[in-house]
Amino acid sequence: MTALSFFGCLLTAYGPALVIFFGYVARDPTLTILSISSAFFWLLSLLLSALIWRIVAPLQSSLPFSVVVGVISQELFRWLYYMLLSRANSLFDLVSKHPTSPLNFPTRSLVAGFGFGAANSLVTYVSSLAQSAGPGVVVARACGGISMFFLSAILTSLFTLLNIAWNVVAFEGYRTRSWWRVAFVAVTHLGASMAVSLIA
C-alpha cells in the first residue's frame, strides 16, 4: 500500500545525491576515493559526538546541547579532513588529468562535502525510510499534517546539498585563512541543525 511513500521518500531523500554521485563523482576514481574517505571522516565525527554524549550524562536529556556537540564535532572533522587533503593535494595533482587546473581544489572540496553529506543522510534517514514502507506514518502537525517520513526526506536531501556548499566555503576559508568564511559555515550549520531539531 505504501510502496508509493517508500519510493517517494527514497527519491526525494537520495535522488539528487544519486545523480551527483553517478553523474559526477563516480566518473573519476580520485573523486570517488575522496568522497568515500570524507564519508569516513564524517562517521568518525559521529563516533566522537556519540562518545561525548555517552560520557557526559547531562547531555543525554538535552537535545540542543547534543546538537551543539554534534555540529562542533563535525566541523572539527571537516577541518581535520582539510588538513589531510592539503597534504595529499599535490599527490592528487600528479594523477589529475589537468594538474594545473584552478578548479582542482574546489572540485575536491565539493566531492569531500558530498561524502560528508551522503554519510550524514544515510545514517540519519535510513531507519525512517525503512519505516516509510509500512502503512503508518508519524504526522508532522506543525507542517500541514504531512508525514514526518516525507518531511525528513526533504530535509535529508537539503542537508546533503548544504554539506556540499558548507564544505566548499569552509575549505576555501581554511586555504585562504579567511576566518569569517569558517565562522559562517559553523554558524549556519548550527542554525540549520537547531531549526531541524525543532520539528523532532
Binding site: M1, T2, L4, S5, F7, G8, C9, L10, L11, T12, Y14, G15, P16, L18, V19, I20, F21, F22, G23, Y24, A26, P29, T32, L103, L122, V123, V126, S127, S128, L129, A130, Q131, A133, G134, P135, G136, V137, V138, V139, G145, I146, S147, F150, A153, I154, S157
Partner: protein
C-alpha cells in the same frame, strides 16, 4: 519493516570498470534495506504503531467446511458505525478507500456484516461493547429438535464463515479498557474530520488462518488441531468396580461455553452456574456425617468439556464407557510416558470400571442462573426438570426437596423432550436423564453461548446470583443424599448439613470476575495474574487441560480426598514426596491429597488418531469433527495513514527532484566544459 535481502555480487570489480558504480549502488541498497540498529527501529515502530490487545474471531472447521474468520492482511481507515444511520451514510458515501468498521456489539449481525461487505469498501470489523447492549444476542445455533427451537435468539453467527477479520476490543480486565479507549479516541478523530481529511487513524490486522477447506484436509496438512480439552469424572468412592454391583448416579455439568470471539467466552448462565452447583454438591456431600463411601450407590460427578462443539466431552465419555477396547497395551506412537493403553493412547482406563449397566440415572445441572443482571437477588423462582423418561423418580424427589426452597424445581410441562444437553448421549442409550434448567420451554437466557453471558466481567457481583445457584445445589445435594442411600424422598437430613453458599459465591466470582482468587492461586502451576480466562474449550492435546478443567479437577481432588496429609504439610518448595506425606498424593492448597478424580479426553467423536498415518482423521462426518485452525499471529495495531493522493504527490516530488538534479547536472557540465574550452 522491510525483509533483509541477501545480495551476492558476481565477479571482481575494478575502480575503473563499469561495474564499480553498480557495486556501490548495491552497497547503498544493502544499507537502505538494513535498519542500522534494532533498538532504534523498535523505537520508531512503537512511535508509529500502537499495538492493541484485541480478541480475534478465529477459524474452526468440521467435516463439511469452515466457520469463523479469515484474514489475508486487512487494513483500512477506522470508521464508526454506531447506528443504522451511520450504516446508511457509509453505504451511500463516495469514499473509495478501504475501511475498518468499528461497530458496537448490538450492531454485530449477519445483515450488518453483509451490508458492509456489499459496499466493497469494508476490509475488517472491530467490535466494541458499545453503550447499549442488545436485548438478545446468541451467536449460537437455534438448537432445533423436531421443529422446536430451544434457543430462539440463536443467530448462528458463530457458525458462518467470513473472509474478513473481525476483532473485539473488550474489557476483560480493568487494564484492557485502554484498548477500547484507544479505538474510540481514534475513530472519534476520524469522525470529526468527516472521514475525509487525511491523515486519519487506520488499523491493520494479522491473523492468517492456515487451515483450509475442512477438518480432514487440515488435519492431514497439519494446519489444525481437534477442538477439545479434558472432561473430569470424580467420586467419593476410592474404588469402583463392575463387580461391586452398586448403582451409579451421575451428576453432570458442562466445563465450557462458546462465543463468537473465543477469548471472551464466559457462559455465566450457559455453563458456569451449573458447574459451580455441581462443585458445591460435591463439597456438601464430602461433609456428610454419613460417609458417602458407605452409601448404597456411587455418586459420580462428571463435568464435560467441549460441550459447545457437538457435545464432544459427553459423547466421547458415554461412548468410551460403552465400547472402549484397548487394542494394544503399549505403543511407540503414543506420546504418553505412562500409557494405560497404547492404542488408543490414553493415560488412564479406570473409567472402564464404571460399568454402563450400573448407571442408574444422570442428573444434569444446566442453565440454572436465573435472570441475568438482577438489581437484587431474586426470590421465589421456579426452575424445571426435563426428563427423558416419565418414570424417573429423580424429578419428583427434586420437587419434594425444593418445595420450600428459594428456587422450586418442578417437572416441565410439554413434550419437547430433553433440552440440548450433555445428558443426551446417555439418554439416547437408555440411561434415564433429568436436566435441571431455568426454562420450561425455550431458553430464557437470551445470551446463550454469547460473550454477553456474564458481561461486564469486571463489575460482576456474584452475590446477586449466589442464593439462586446455592438453592438449586442444596436441593440437588439433599435429593442425592437420600437417593444414594435408598432413603425415601422425605427422609430426615443430618442436622445443620447443607450446601456451603460461600463455595458457590467464591467460585462464581473466580470464574467470571477474578481468576486470580485464592481458590485458584492455592493450586500449584495455575494461571497467575489473570482476571478473566476464556471458557472456550481450546484445542485438545495429551498434556495440557485448559485452565478451567485444571482448577476444577484440582479443587475436586482436594474436596473429595480419600487420602490426606496434614494441613500445611507441603508447599511449592516442599513437595508431597518429602516429609512423610502419604504416597501418591499431590500438593493442593498446601495439603497432600489424593482422590478419585480422573481426566477423560474430550474431542469430537467423529475424530480419531490414525496410528498408521500419524495424525487425526475424520472417521465419522456425522459426529463431532470440530478442529481449530492454527495461525501465527493475531496482532492488531492502529496508526496514522496518509491518503493515496498524498503518497502520489510524494512520488511526484521525489521524481521531479531527481530529474531536476539530473538536468541541472547536465546543464552545469555543459556550461563548465564550454567555459574551459574558451579558457
Amino acid at each position: 519493516m522491510l525483509p533483509l535481502h541477501s545480495h551476492r555480487s558476481h565477479g571482481h570489480w575494478r575502480p575503473s570498470s563499469p561495474s564499480f558504480p553498480s557495486f556501490l549502488l548495491l552497497l547503498l541498497l544493502v544499507f537502505l534495506v538494513r535498519a542500522p540498529h534494532p533498538a532504534f527501529a523498535d523505537l520508531l515502530d512503537t512511535t508509529v504503531y500502537q499495538a492493541l490487545d484485541l480478541a480475534p474471531c478465529t477459524r474452526l472447521l468440521n467435516a463439511s467446511g469452515v466457520i469463523g474468520c479469515q484474514n489475508f492482511g486487512a487494513s483500512g481507515v477506522l470508521y464508526a458505525i454506531d447506528t443504522s444511520d451511520d450504516l446508511a451514510s457509509f453505504v451511500a458515501g463516495t469514499q473509495k478507500d478501504s475501511y475498518v468498521a468499528v461497530v458496537p456489539m448490538a450492531m454485530l449481525t449477519t445483515s450488518t456484516i453483509q451490508t458492509l461487505r456489499n459496499t466493497g469498501k469494508l476490509s475488517a470489523i472491530v467490535v466494541t461493547p458499545g453503550t447499549l447492549l442488545p436485548s438478545s444476542s446468541s451467536p449460537f445455533t437455534p438448537l432445533a429438535t423436531s421443529g422446536f427451537e430451544w434457543n430462539p435468539n440463536g443467530t448462528s453467527l458463530s457458525f458462518q464463515s467470513f473472509d474478513i477479520p473481525i476483532y473485539a476490543a473488550w474489557p476483560t480486565s480493568n487494564a484492557s479498557q485502554v484498548n477500547i479507549d484507544a479505538i474510540n479516541e481514534a475513530v472519534a478523530y476520524n469522525r470529526d474530520k468527516g472521514y475525509n481529511g487525511y491523515p486519519m487513524y487506520s488499523a491493520d490486522f494479522d491473523g492468517l488462518m492456515y487451515a483450509q477447506r475442512d477438518s480432514d484436509t487440515c488435519l492431514r496438512r497439519g494446519t489444525c488441531d481437534p477442538v477439545g480439552s479434558v472432561s473430569i469424572w470424580s467420586s467419593h468412592s476410592r474404588l469402583i468396580t463392575p463387580s461391586d454391583t452398586k448403582p451409579i448416579l451421575l451428576v453432570a455439568a458442562a466445563l465450557d461455553a462458546a462465543s463468537f470471539f473465543h477469548d471472551l467466552a464466559t457462559g455465566l448462565d450457559t455453563h458456569v452456574a451449573g458447574l459451580v452447583a455441581v462443585m458445591a454438591v460435591a463439597e456438601a456431600m464430602a461433609r456428610s456425617p454419613t460417609s458417602p463411601t458407605t452409601f448404597a450407590k456411587h455418586i459420580l460427578y462428571t463435568t464435560f468439556a467441549a460441550e459447545a462443539w457437538s457435545r464432544a466431552g459427553s459423547e466421547r465419555f458415554a461412548r468410551d464407557l460403552r465400547t472402549f477396547t484397548c487394542v494394544k497395551d503399549k505403543d511407540a506412537a503414543c506420546p504418553l510416558v505412562n500409557q494405560a493403553c497404547g492404542r488408543p493412547c490414553v493415560a488412564n482406563t479406570e473409567f472402564r470400571n464404571v460399568s454402563w449397566g450400573n448407571i442408574e440415572s444422570i442428573l444434569e445441572l444446566s442453565q440454572i442462573l436465573g435472570p441475568l443482571y438482577p438489581t437484587s437477588p431474586p426470590s421465589n423462582l421456579t426452575f424445571y426438570t426435563h426428563s427423558s423418561s416419565a418414570t424417573s423418580s429423580l424429578a419428583s424427589r427434586l420437587a419434594a426437596a425444593s418445595a420450600d426452597a428459594l428456587v422450586r424445581i418442578v417437572p416441565a410441562q410439554g413434550s419437547n423432550g430433553l433440552p440440548p444437553s450433555s445428558s443426551g448421549a446417555f439418554a439416547r442409550n437408555g440411561v434415564p436423564a433429568v436436566v435441571v434448567v431455568e426454562h420450561s420451554g425455550a431458553f430464557t437466557n437470551s445470551y446463550y453461548n454469547s460473550e454477553l453471558d456474564g458481561y461486564p466481567y469486571t463489575t460482576f457481583n456474584a452475590s446477586l446470583y449466589t442464593p439462586t445457584v446455592c438453592s438449586v445445589a442444596s436441593s440437588t445435594a439433599k435429593t442425592l443424599w437420600r437417593l444414594a442411600q435408598n432413603l425415601d424422598a422425605n427422609a430426615t437430613l443430618p442436622t445443620g448439613w447443607d450446601v456451603n453458599c460461600t463455595v458457590v459465591r467464591d467460585w462464581l466470582d473466580c470464574f467470571v470476575r477474578n481468576f486470580s482468587c485464592p481458590l485458584v492461586t492455592g493450586i500449584p502451576f495455575s494461571v497467575s495474574g489473570a482476571t478473566h480466562v476464556s471458557h472456550y474449550s481450546g484445542v485438545w492435546n495429551y498434556y495440557n487441560p485448559n485452565p478451567i478443567a485444571y482448577v476444577v479437577s484440582n479443587w475436586l481432588t482436594s474436596t473429595l480426598a480419600h487420602t490426606k496429609g496434614p494441613a500445611g504439610g507441603c508447599n511449592a518448595s516442599s513437595p508431597c514426596s518429602a516429609n512423610g506425606n502419604p504416597s501418591g498424593t499431590s500438593c493442593i492448597y498446601n495439603q497432600c491429597v489424593a482422590a478419585t478424580v480422573k481426566y477423560h479426553y474430550a474431542y469430537g467423536t467423529g475424530l480419531e488418531y490414525d496410528f498408521d498415518k500419524g495424525y487425526f482423521t475424520v472417521v465419522d462426518p456425522a459426529q463431532g469433527t470440530w478442529t481449530e485452525s492454527r495461525w501465527y499471529s493475531t496482532r492488531f495495531r492502529i496508526f496514522m495513514a496518509t491518503s493515496r493522493t498524498i503518497q502520489g504527490v510524494e512520488v511526484a516530488v521525489g521524481l521531479a527532484l531527481t530529474l531536476a538534479s539530473g538536468a541541472g547536472m547536465w546543464w552545469t557540465r555543459r556550461w563548465v566544459n564550454e567555459k574551459m574550452k574558451q579558457a
